[in-house]
């Protein structure tokens, strides 16, 4: 009788185990795995942007259009040799007895990434030959369209460098629109 009871309990346990197993199977989370391999190659790089000088608006500190980019506009207004007719945001002055100059300052910011370069060189050139007796300068350095002219040998990254664009016009230049695209080149040292 005792043996029968033990046998019956074992059967009950076995049945419970089977039931528990059956219940546990659907509860087990179904998963699926995948692997994504990511490859890349980091390159050193630098960037150059122009910014309106913080002194703007003030005479000689024109606001740039598209400031904060590497493609900006700088409208110096309209001028004539008699300085009283100058209309614009630049600074008008006479150089000698027969030439006037309009200037405006702006900032150049060069940033670097993933490079140990300590500083950079800055150069500029104009896109087309100016009319006779018209000269384009940056910080008193005459620009040409035949090649880049060095402006600075070692400027610091991440710091605005103020440059002044100058246009000098002799009084015998016919009335016309004076326009240049000036390309600035920063080169990591």
């Amino acid at each position: 009788m005792k043996a029968k009871f033990i046998c019956g309990r074992a059967r009950l346990l076995a049945a419970l185990c089977v039931l528990a197993g059956a219940c546990a199977l659907p509860a087990r989370a179904q998963t699926s795995a995948g692997q994504l391999t990511v490859t890349l190659n980091v390159q050193s790089s630098i960037s150059l942007i122009f910014q309106t000088n913080p002194a703007s608006p003030a005479a000689g500190f024109c606001a740039l259009t598209n400031s904060g980019t590497n493609n900006v506009g700088l409208d110096l207004g309209s001028a004539a040799f008699p300085g009283s007719s100058y209309v614009g945001c630049g600074s008008y002055s006479h150089i000698g007895s027969a030439t006037y100059q309009v200037t405006s300052a702006f900032d150049v910011v060069v940033s670097k990434a993933n490079t140990s370069s300590p500083n950079y060189r800055l150069a500029a050139q104009i896109s087309t030959p100016p009319p006779a007796n018209v000269t384009w300068l940056v910080n008193n350095i005459v620009l040409t369209n035949t090649g880049f002219t060095n402006l600075d040998a070692a400027d610091n990254y991440g710091t605005p460098v103020t440059k002044t664009l100058q246009v000098q016009v002799k009084n015998n230049v016919p009335a016309q629109l004076l326009s240049e695209t000036i390309t600035f080149l920063a080169s990591a040292n």
Binding site: S32, A33, G34, L40, N41, Q43, S47, N114
Partner: protein
Amino acid sequence: MRKQNLTRTAAIAILMLSSAALFGQTATGVINGTLINKNGITLVFDSDAAGVALGNSGTSAASVNFGNISAFGALSAGVTRPSVTAANFTVQTIFDVNVTQGGLASASYTLTANLAAPAPTGFTYKVDAVTLTTVAQTIQANGAYGTDVAHNLGLVVLTAAPGAGGPAVGSPITATINFTATAN
């Protein structure tokens, strides 16, 4: 003569009986077919039209090549650069995850991801808004089955120079991200 007729009739009757017995021979058989229909779930990566074309797209072992990346230079097709700061820049692409299931009552899945190994120096890997570590983290808690679900894979790269906390420059860098889809 009459005896002969009786004998013939008897012979014909025997032949007819024997022929009927031959036509009654039949055989039958049955096949007891069984199939265990198990539940299952699978995950594959698909290229997204807006992202980098994956290597082995449509499989669970795909690859994505960002190509050359930099803070300011040109990027490969399908790679964008949503942010550049003095400290770091981010490049990202889009890929799709497609999870299918069968035999489950599950209505959705949970997607987790982790880096197979610690991120290389100067890098942080992100899937959507989740910064990856070697520990699995939930990317999506209610993914829909049977459809491409787009995810952003982002790399935040320090701008520091190599040796100063920044990443190695000019050499390929590879990392593996493990994804797991779990039926809800």
